[in-house]
């Protein structure tokens, strides 16, 4: 199985979720993160002192899929998360050795 981690712009979440749904992927875990990269941060002002905030709000998506689904999932994410502007984010793929569904104790691809 593969684990796909995607860092995306927050307002793209619904779209990405829907496009994953279209290819039959309906399990994922989402967290709020802060990203640091080429996209420049913003300036905040506090009583006249400006300071730069480098970390921007991003959403991290984690989904574990069967090996065969991985490519399709990555493509779906890339397509739906793209705005073409800097800061769109990244997708990372790695290997998962075992998966267990807690409720049923099913293992492997049956579990994801």
């Amino acid at each position: 199985m593969k684990k796909i981690e995607a860092i995306i712009k927050p307002f793209k979440l619904e779209e990405v979720k829907d496009s994953l749904g279209e290819i039959g992927i309906e399990g994922m875990t989402v967290s709020e993160v802060k990203g640091f990269g080429r996209q420049k941060g913003h300036t905040e002002i506090y009583r006249g002192s400006e300071y730069t905030v480098d970390f921007l709000p991003k959403i991290k998506l984690e989904l574990v899929v069967a090996d065969g689904q991985a490519e399709g999932a990555v493509a779906a994410i890339v397509k739906s998360a793209k705005t073409g502007k800097i800061g769109d984010g990244k997708v990372f793929v790695s290997t998962i050795e075992q998966a267990v569904r807690i409720r049923t104790e099913e293992k492997g691809e049956a579990a994801v």
């Binding site: 307002f11 619904e14 300036t43 905040e44 002002i45 506090y46 400006e50 905030v53 502007k85």
Partner: protein
């Protein structure tokens, strides 16, 4: 910024021209008109300050300011998404600041000056005051209005002038430029708030006043006026990205509940304060305000409970505000029974306006300014005519007849709707030409707080 400053100048000049015209027209002997609320008191001999009335009116003034800061700011702030919370707070706060300055400079004078007014005569002065009291010239600690210091009266009325434009910002929340908001609302303040206020409350010779309209604490002046401006604005500014597709959910419901609670408590100042005295009228206004608000909150809760099985916090709060809006014009004439009626009716009407009607028509009135203040204001204004009847436990004015009063109320509603609608349209067109109405799409996505105000509402990381 520069464009904006230029505009402020323009506005000021504009008002002056208008007023000069007014003065030119005003050929009749000036009449020392008294404002609605102080009318009774003034009927007695020499004006003298009553410490009890003054005590209450200073307190009422504090309560009404409290409605805007922080009441309304929180009520609205909790309902938007976290990335836009500061825009709403800043807008309310900035309006409180700027409107106060404008009020001192010309607002009070334009709203309440009575030069050229004469009972039964419709002239320019029936719509606008003039500039004789610019910079509150002539007001000293010894100036008296009715039975209270004039300075208190001016400040009390100022707090109404602050909340009214602040109410509007809920309609176009989460997408309008701060500069555009200022241009629009200040234009509207000068050309819709001030004249409608004048028509309703400036005394003999003022349009609504002479018609005998019952508007004790500002159904037309405040709520219908703001509600219509909000409707026009949210349509002209356009929908939020994602409206109708995603859940644009309130980011902090407790904040909204705090705000609604403060509105409720502060509204005692609004309504009972409109008696301009600590007397039986104020006492009854207190009671009916409580009753109508509570009834509306409970009614909204029951509606939700029946329709979805779940009474919500936002629903209860919205119901309470609907009740507060609707009892406002009636609070000087309705009794407890009328308050029950007005409360229940406003909840039902506003509920359907903010849900079914809004969905059907598809406009994005972000925080339901029209649905609650517009609709609630109209329901209240019309029912005021009915609930003043002594058959319903009301305290009718002399010569009251239900049908006639209802028709009078209706006339004032229609004038307010049209007037505010036209001025709002012009104000928005002006703002559009000068700075444009909306923030760019990326800004809307990332939140207006950062781009417009250089701040974020929350930094939770340690």
């Amino acid at each position: 910024m520069k464009k904006f400053l230029a505009l402020i100048g323009l506005l000021a000049v504009g008002s002056m021209v208008v007023t000069d015209l007014a003065n030119a027209q005003a050929t009749e002997t000036p009449v020392a008109a008294v404002t609605a609320a102080a009318a009774e008191a003034a009927a007695e001999e020499a004006p003298k300050i009553d410490s009890g009335d003054t005590a209450w009116m200073i307190t009422a003034t504090a309560l009404v300011l409290f409605m805007t800061l922080p009441g309304l700011a929180l009520f609205y702030g909790g309902l938007v998404r976290a990335k836009n919370v500061l825009t709403v707070l800043v807008q309310c706060f900035a309006l409180a600041g700027i409107v106060t300055v404008l009020w001192v400079v010309f607002g009070y004078s334009v709203a309440f000056s009575t030069e050229g007014m004469a009972k039964g005569t419709v002239n320019f002065a029936s719509f606008f005051g003039d500039f004789t009291e610019m910079f509150l010239r002539g007001t000293t600690p010894d100036s008296v209005q009715g039975t209270i210091p004039k300075a208190v009266w001016i400040t009390f009325q100022l707090t109404f002038a602050i909340i009214t434009p602040a109410l509007i910002v809920g309609a176009f929340a989460e997408r309008m430029k701060f500069s555009a908001m200022l241009i629009f609302t200040l234009f509207w303040f000068a050309f819709s708030y001030l004249p409608i206020c004048h028509m309703a409350w400036a005394g003999d010779g003022a349009l609504f006043w002479d018609w005998g309209v019952l508007d004790f604490a500002g159904g037309t002046v405040v709520h219908i006026n703001a509600g219509i401006a909000g409707l026009v604005a949210c349509i002209m500014v356009g929908k939020r990205k994602g409206f109708g597709k995603e859940a644009l959910s309130p980011h902090n419901v407790p904040m909204t509940i705090i705000g609604a609670s403060m509105l409720w408590v502060g509204w005692f100042g609004f309504n009972a304060g409109s008696a301009a005295a600590a007397n039986g009228t104020a006492g009854m206004a207190l009671l009916v305000t409580q009753v109508a608000t509570a009834t509306a909150a409970a009614t909204w809760m029951l509606l939700e409970w029946m329709r979805s099985g779940k009474p919500t916090a936002v629903g209860l709060a919205t119901g309470a505000v609907a009740g507060l809006v609707a009892i406002t014009p009636a609070s000087g004439t309705a009794g407890p029974m009328g308050a029950l009626i007005i409360g229940a009716a406003s909840a039902v009407c506003c509920y359907f306006a903010a849900t079914t009607v809004k969905r059907a028509l598809g406009y994005d009135d972000s925080l339901d300014v029209f649905g609650v203040h517009g609709v609630g204001g109209i329901v209240g204004a019309l029912l005021t005519g009915i609930c003043a009847s002594s058959a319903l436990g009301g305290t009718p004015p002399d010569g009251y007849a239900m049908g006639g009063q209802f028709f009078t109320q209706l006339k004032s509603v229609i004038v307010t709707v049209i007037w505010s609608g036209v001025v709002a349209t012009l104000g928005l067109m002006l703002a559009k030409v000068i700075v444009g109405l909306r923030v760019p799409e990326e800004v809307e996505h990332s939140g207006l707080d950062l781009s417009e105000h250089g701040e974020e509402g929350y930094h939770t990381a340690r």
